[in-house]
Symmetry: C2
Subunit: 261 residues, 2 copies
C-alpha cells in the first residue's frame, strides 16, 4: 500500500497549524508544505493577486508530486478556491467547508461569529457556507490579530484589549454560541479568546476540522511516521524560526523556491 503525498499550501507559516493537525490526525500520509513567504500576507490583497499567487503555488506542489492538495490559507479559499482547485489535476480541499461543517455541528442556537482577515470577511465565503448549513453568521475582520501573533503577544494585555474591542457586543445573550477562527494564525490565540468570549461559546478551529475531513477521505496506514518537506519563497531561516511556533515541532530542510523567474 502506498502512502499518499499531500501538498499543503499557505501564504506563510500560519498554515502550519493545519499541517500540525494533519500530522496528528493523518499520520498515514507524507506531506509537502509550501509557504509563499516572499509575497505574504494575502489577507489584505485583491482577488486577482491572491488567485494568481495561490495558483502558482499549488501548481508547484502538483509538479513536486502532490497527489492531493490542502489549501490551508483561509483568504485564498475565501477569494478563489474554485479557481485554485480547477488549476490543478488532483483533488483539492479548502479550510472553509470543513470549518463551516464543524461550526454548524457545534451551534445549538444556529448563530455563529466568524473572525478572519479583511479579505476573507469581505468575500462572505464563511457566511455563505454557514447559511447553506442553516446557521446565521456575523463576520468580523480582525486585522491586528495576525501582527499580534507574529509579535508573539499571545497572552498579552494589549492583545486581550484588542480582542475585547473586536468582539464587543457580538456575543449578546440569546446570540451566537459558536466562534469560528477563520484564519490560520488565530488558533494560537485560542487560550486568550477563551477568556474573552462567554464560557457557553464553542471555539471552532478550521485546522482541526480540515484535518478530520482529510482523515475521513483516507484510510489504513503502514505505521511509519510522516515524511514532511518544506518550501518557502522568502528566507528559509525566517521560515524555520517563525514556523516552529505554529507547527509545535522542529522544522528541518526548508527549500527556497522562486516562483517569479
Amino acid at each position: 500500500m502506498t502512502r499518499p503525498l499531500i501538498g499543503v499550501f499557505d501564504s506563510g507559516v500560519g498554515g502550519l497549524t493545519v499541517l500540525n493537525a494533519l500530522l496528528r490526525q493523518v499520520s498515514t500520509a507524507d506531506y509537502l508544505y509550501f509557504g509563499d513567504t516572499a509575497r505574504l500576507p494575502y489577507g489584505s490583497k485583491s482577488v486577482e493577486t491572491v488567485a494568481k499567487y495561490a495558483i502558482s503555488a499549488v501548481q508547484f506542489l502538483e509538479q513536486q508530486g502532490a497527489e492531493r492538495l490542502v489549501v490551508a490559507c483561509n483568504t485564498a479559499c475565501a477569494l478563489a478556491f474554485q479557481r485554485i482547485a480547477s488549476s490543478i489535476h488532483v483533488p483539492a480541499l479548502g479550510v472553509i467547508e470543513p470549518g463551516a461543517d464543524a461550526g454548524a455541528a457545534a451551534s445549538h442556537t444556529k448563530r455563529a461569529v466568524v473572525i478572519a482577515t479583511e479579505g476573507t470577511v469581505s468575500s462572505h465565503a464563511y457566511r455563505d457556507a454557514l447559511t447553506e448549513r442553516g446557521v446565521t453568521a456575523v463576520e468580523k475582520a480582525c486585522p491586528l490579530f495576525v501582527p499580534l501573533v507574529e509579535e508573539g503577544w499571545l497572552d498579552h494585555e494589549v492583545t486581550r484589549h484588542v480582542a475585547h474591542i473586536y468582539l464587543e457586543g457580538l456575543f449578546d445573550s440569546h446570540g451566537p454560541d459558536t466562534l469560528i477562527l477563520g484564519c490560520t494564525h488565530y488558533p494560537l490565540l485560542k487560550p486568550l479568546l477563551r477568556t474573552v468570549v462567554p464560557p457557553r461559546v464553542c471555539i471552532i478551529d478550521s485546522a482541526e476540522a480540515t484535518a478530520a475531513a482529510v482523515r475521513r477521505d483516507l484510510a489504513g496506514g503502514d505505521g511509519r511516521r510522516p515524511n514532511v518537506r518544506f518550501f518557502a519563497t522568502d528566507s528559509i531561516e525566517k521560515f524555520r524560526r517563525a514556523g516552529e511556533k505554529f507547527l509545535e515541532r522542529d522544522i528541518k530542510d526548508v527549500v527556497h523556491v522562486d516562483l517569479e523567474t
Copy 2:
C-alpha cells in the same frame, strides 16, 4: 526650462508621506509614484527578496521616464540601497541619509532613538549613518505600528499603550533627545508619539528631511502645479482608498502594473 520627472518608489502607500512632503517642498517637478502593493510589506522580508522586488520597481520607473529616483521605502534603503541605486542609470536618493542628517542636526546630546520595521533595525543602517555623524543611536523595531496605522487607530488607547511598551526606558533623563521615525507609516503617529515621549525630545520625520534634500538639488520652477502619476501592483481601488490618508489629497488615475509576468 524643463521640469524634472522624479520617480518615487515604496512597497505600498506609506511612501506617499514622502510624496506629500515633495509636493509641498518641490513643486517645480513632476512625479511618478510606484507602490508595490501586491508584494508588500517589505519590513519583515529578507535582503534578497527586498532587493529583487525594489530593483524591478525602480527599473520600471526609469523605463517610464523618471530622471531621478527617490527610494521612499526605509526597509529597501536599509537593506539594499547601493544595489538598488546601481541597478539604474539615473541618480537615486534614499530616505536614511537625509533622516540621519536631520537627526544629527537636531540632537544636542548626540544620542538618538530610531524606530523602524524589523528589517530596517536589523540592518543597522540608521545606527551606522548616525555614528558617521557623531550620534549614538538606539534602534527599536516596532512591528505593530504599521498594522495599527493601517487599522486607522492613529489616536487610540491601544496604540498609545503599544507605544509606551515599545519606547519604555529609551528616553531616560540625560539620554536621547531625538526620535527618528524610520518608517514611512510612522509620520501618521507623530501626534500620538508626541504625547508619549518627553517634551524635550525632537521628532524627526525622514519624509520632510528627504524632500528638503531633493529641494537643495533642484532649483527654479515655472509656477505650474506638479503632475503626478500613480502605479500599483495590487488593486488600484485599494491603493486609492488607503493612499489618500497618507497623501492628504485626492488620488486619481492609478495604473495597475504586473512586474511578475
